[in-house]
C-alpha cells in the first residue's frame, strides 16, 4: 500500500556551511526518536550525511528505523521517493543537498513537501537566506502548478543562548524578510557530538547508561537539543 502520509523534507540553501546537514541530522534524530521510519537521502557530493549514518551504525548509535541512500541525480531522488512511497517504506524522507544555487535546485524543490533553509545570524547569511527565499518565490512563476510547490521554512541556526542586541536586530530582520519557524536552533556543543557519534536519542541513551555517574547529567543537554529539533520538526509539519 502506498504511504499517503509520506513527508519529504529537503534541506536547501544557496550557501555552504549554513548548517543544512546539522539541521538534517537533528530533524532525523527527532523523527526517529518519535518512532517514525526515516530515509535520509544524501545528494551532496561530499557524502557527509551518508558517512555520518555509517559512523552512527558502526558505533551502535543509529537506529533500525533509519536508512540511508546516496543519490547522484534529481531523477534518482525522484525514483527513490516514488519507491518509498509505493512500498510504504518510510514515514519521512530527508534530502540533504549541497550548499549552492544550481539548476538541480528546482528539480529537488518540486519533489519535496517542505523545504527547510537554515540561516545563521549574520548580515551576510541573512542576505543569502533571502536569495534562497527569493529563488523559491520566483519558482512559483516558473512551474505549471504553483499550488503543488512545497512550503518553505527558514530555521535560524547557531543562535547564541545569550542573545545580544545585534542578534535581536538580526532576528527581527529575519522574521520580516523570511518565513522563519518559531523555534530557533541554538548553538550547542552536542551537535558536534551528534556529528561524531550518531542520533541524538541514541547518544542520550548511551550517556544515561554510562557507568560513570558524572556523565549522566550530560544527558540533559542532549535531551534539550532533541526537544528543540522536535519542536522545529513540528513547526515545519504544522505550517
Amino acid at each position: 500500500m502506498p504511504n499517503d502520509n509520506l513527508v519529504v523534507i529537503a534541506a536547501m540553501a544557496r550557501k555552504g556551511g549554513s548548517g543544512k546537514t546539522t539541521l538534517s541530522r537533528a530533524l532525523i534524530s527527532a523523527a526517529v526518536a518519535a518512532g517514525r521510519r526515516v530515509l535520509q537521502i544524501d545528494t551532496d557530493s561530499t557524502g557527509v550525511l551518508g558517512t555520518w549514518h555509517k559512523r552512527a551504525e558502526a558505533a551502535g548509535l543509529g537506529s533500525p528505523l533509519l536508512r540511508s541512500a546516496t543519490v547522484e541525480s534529481v531523477g534518482g531522488v525522484d525514483r527513490k521517493i516514488e519507491q518509498v512511497y509505493a512500498a510504504d517504506a518510510a514515514d519521512f524522507i530527508f534530502v540533504d543537498t549541497a550548499g549552492v544555487g544550481a539548476e538541480w535546485s528546482d528539480g529537488i524543490a518540486v519533489l519535496a513537501d517542505h523545504i527547510v533553509t537554515p540561516v545563521m545570524l549574520s548580515t551576510s547569511d541573512l542576505d543569502v537566506g533571502v536569495q534562497t527565499a527569493d529563488w523559491f518565490e520566483k519558482l512559483r512563476a516558473r512551474v505549471d502548478d504553483p499550488a503543488s510547490l512545497p512550503r518553505h521554512h527558514v530555521v535560524l541556526n547557531m543562535v547564541d543562548p545569550k542573545t545580544t542586541r545585534a542578534d535581536a536586530a538580526l532576528i527581527k530582520a529575519a522574521i520580516t524578510r523570511l518565513p522563519v519557524v518559531e523555534t530557533v536552533m541554538m548553538r550547542r556543543n552536542v551537535y558536534k557530538e551528534m556529528d561524531e557519534k550518531g542520533l541524538l536519542h541514541a547518544v542520550a541513551l548511551q550517556k544515561q547508561a554510562d557507568p560513570n555517574p558524572l556523565m549522566r547529567p550530560h544527558v540533559r543537554h542532549v535531551v534539550e537539543a532533541l526537544e528543540e529539533a522536535t519542536d522545529i520538526l513540528n513547526n515545519i509539519l504544522a505550517a
Binding site: 525522484d78 544555487g101 544550481a102 512551474v143
Partner: protein, 217 residues
C-alpha cells in the same frame, strides 16, 4: 496519493549562476540560440559525434535578447580551432517528462503479470535509448491516455538543445509552453509502441513454458 509534482517551465539562470570553467558547455537555451556555439568542429575529437543531431540553428541570424551566458559565448570568436576542441560535447537541455500508457493498453497491462508502472518505465527507457529530438513539431496524439496515474513514468530527459531551440523558435517564441508540450508528440507514440512490444514479449514469455511439445498451433 503522492502530491502532484509541478513541472518547471523555465530555469532561473540567476540563481544557478556559478563560476564556470572557461568555455564549459552550457545546456541552457541561451547558448543554443547562437549558431557558432554549437558548430560541430570537424577537427574535434569524436567523443560524441555519432549520436548528435546535426541540425544547426541558423548562424546567429537574430540572437534573442538573452543573458550573460550568451555574452560568454559571444566573447569566444567562432572558428577558432583551438577553442572548438572544447566544444565537442553536444549541448543538452533537461526536460521533465511524464508518460503513461494508452487507455486501450490498460487491460493488457493489468493482465501481463508485471507491475504496469514497470512496463511503462521500461518502454520509456527503450523509446528514448537511441532517440534524438527532431527540430519539427509533432502535435500530441489525440488518443486517450489511461487515467491510472499511478502508472505514470516521470523522469527528466536530456534532449538536444539545438533541436529544442528550433522547436521553441517555431512553436513557442514567447517561451510560455512547457517543454514537455513541445516534445511529447515525438516521444509518446514511441513509448506506446514499446509498451505494445513489451506486452507482446511478456505474452510470449508467459506462453512458452505452458506450450506442451506435442501440441501444434
Amino acid at each position: 496519493m503522492r502530491k502532484k509534482i509541478p513541472t518547471i517551465t523555465r530555469p532561473d539562470p540567476a540563481y544557478a549562476a556559478s563560476l564556470r570553467p572557461e568555455l564549459e558547455e552550457d545546456p541552457g537555451r541561451e547558448k543554443a540560440q547562437r549558431g557558432e556555439t554549437f558548430s560541430e568542429p570537424a577537427s574535434a575529437e569524436p567523443v560524441a559525434a555519432g549520436d548528435r543531431v546535426a541540425t544547426q540553428p541558423r548562424a546567429s541570424s537574430s540572437p534573442a535578447p538573452q543573458s550573460k551566458q550568451e555574452t560568454a559565448a559571444a566573447a569566444a570568436p567562432a572558428g577558432m580551432a583551438s577553442l572548438a576542441r572544447t566544444r565537442r560535447i553536444p549541448a543538452t537541455r533537461k526536460i521533465d517528462i511524464r508518460v503513461n500508457a494508452l487507455e486501450r493498453q490498460e487491460e493488457a497491462l493489468i493482465d501481463c503479470g508485471v507491475d504496469p508502472a514497470h512496463v511503462i518505465r521500461a518502454a520509456l527507457r527503450r523509446a528514448v535509448k537511441n532517440w534524438q529530438l527532431g527540430p519539427d513539431f509533432v502535435p500530441p496524439s489525440e488518443e486517450r491516455r489511461t487515467l491510472i496515474t499511478e502508472w505514470r513514468a516521470r523522469t527528466s530527459l536530456a534532449v538536444d538543445a539545438a533541436a529544442l531551440t528550433a522547436l521553441l523558435r517555431a512553436n513557442d517564441p514567447l517561451d510560455v509552453l512547457s517543454k514537455w508540450t513541445l516534445i511529447r508528440g515525438q516521444i509518446e507514440p514511441r513509448v506506446w509502441a514499446e509498451v505494445d512490444a513489451l506486452l507482446a514479449e511478456l505474452g510470449t514469455e508467459e506462453d512458452e513454458p505452458e506450450t506442451p511439445t506435442d501440441e501444434g498451433e
